[in-house]
Amino acid sequence: MSLHGVIAAFADPDALTEAARTMRDKGYRRMDAFSPFEVRGLAAILGMRKTRLPWAVLAGGIAGAVLVYALILYSVEIDYPVNVGGRPLHSWTPFTVIAFEVGILGAALAGFAGMLWANGLPQYYHPVFNAKTFTYARGGKFYLLIEAADPKYRKGVTKGQLTRLGAETVEEVEA
């Protein structure tokens, strides 16, 4: 079995934040953190990118509106032109309403799909669940994972550093 990395458990969010900051200052980049609730500022320390979900939602909204407007135009101009009360075939006034509705639908769908994509879901296997400290029975702590793929990673050195930072347990994680 190859090694995925080491995972350190901390007792409280402040210790986790402090440890993550120190390890980042030491040059570690391939880190991940796990906690039962949101820890403010942790994402920035771990170097996570700002969410791009708003752009996905905007793109989904525009795509929905444009597609449906194109569909309406195709059906009234080309496929089945019907004269309704002498109004022009391209009657943008009522079409706007439908385009708006589908724009909202597209935005909502893009938001949902984008959220799944950004979170890497659905995911059926993650090595971190191999760690004994990460189980339901012993879980509920604040964890910092250093991946073995990190260029700064040296098994003994990294484990020692984490222990000195106040980790309750430091455990190797099988891939």
Partner: protein, 379 residues
Amino acid sequence: MRRPVWPDGYVAPAAAVAATGLVLCCAGLFVAPRATLAGWLTIALFLLGMPLGAMTVLMVHGLTGGRWGDALRPPLRAIVATLPVALLLLLPVLARLDLVFPWAAADPAMLPEVVRQKLAYFNVPFFIIRLFACALAWLALGWLILAWTDPDTEVSERGTSRGFAVGFIIHGIAVTVFAIDWMLSIEPDFYSTIYAMLETAAEVVGACALALTVLAAGRAIETMPGGEEDTALSEDVANMLFGFMLMWAYLAFMQWIIVWGGDLPEEIHWYIVRGRNGWQYLLWLLIALQFVAPFVGFLNRSVKRGHRGLLALGALVLAGHFIDVVWRVRPPLSAAGAPISWPDLAAMAGAGGASCACFIHVLARPDCISFWRGRQVHG
């Protein structure tokens, strides 16, 4: 030249502008009475819409609560305090109702059949009675709202929420009557049941935009305490204005789509008058200022958190609301060919300056509001 201190230093210049405008308006009444009165009516309706909208917002906030309203309260109270002045601005129009309202014309036989059938409602005595009833209701309501939202006195929440609820109903009826009387009846053959709602929504947008602009001009609302964790208070306020603006846009579009769908001569005429003789450019400007630009701005979080962004958004929406009122009221009043003439600008300066001076004065000294309420200020 140094910039005068905000807001005290701006009362005198506004009063000077008002005096100049009023003199020009008096001259205009002799030279071109109809054009002057048309311009005056437009600006007076805009200025009266401000306190009415502020009352609506204060009552909505009184019923629902929320930090956004606490932030907006001081400027909104100052806007409500301009109500008596704004009501006075309508009086000059009463002298010559026949110049602006076709149904008040001397010879009813000249009117179209459909208008003649409405004369039981649209006649001068009843019109004036309705105006005074509305004015009384608003003055009483404004007085009560200022008392209920007074930051210095503790008022029980249960008592005021019942008051706000009853007041809201009365206010709704009064605004409906007023919008039909003073705006719709300029074209008595047209009717639109959504119009009073549209006017209410527009007033709310205007009052809220003015309050946001004043807040952002006076101090840094984006750093004011009281927002949610991670969300600046300014963002809440901007989002509320965004919501009000969308409400207005929705109602305006609904009226258009229904009239367009019906395609009846006496209804679509309302839009045809407003889509010709240069008014169509005002419409494009209105859509740009009160829908497109704020829509993009309000969706952008950094704009809602920045001082300049908020100031620009508030000012844009306020300008858009002004154009909205002009576009709805002014076009049928002008003779073909000359959309806007100098009496319009004179009326804008006269009435606008007077109202501005009043508003800034009250804003600078909030204790004036207590004086208006007829209560001795202690200390």
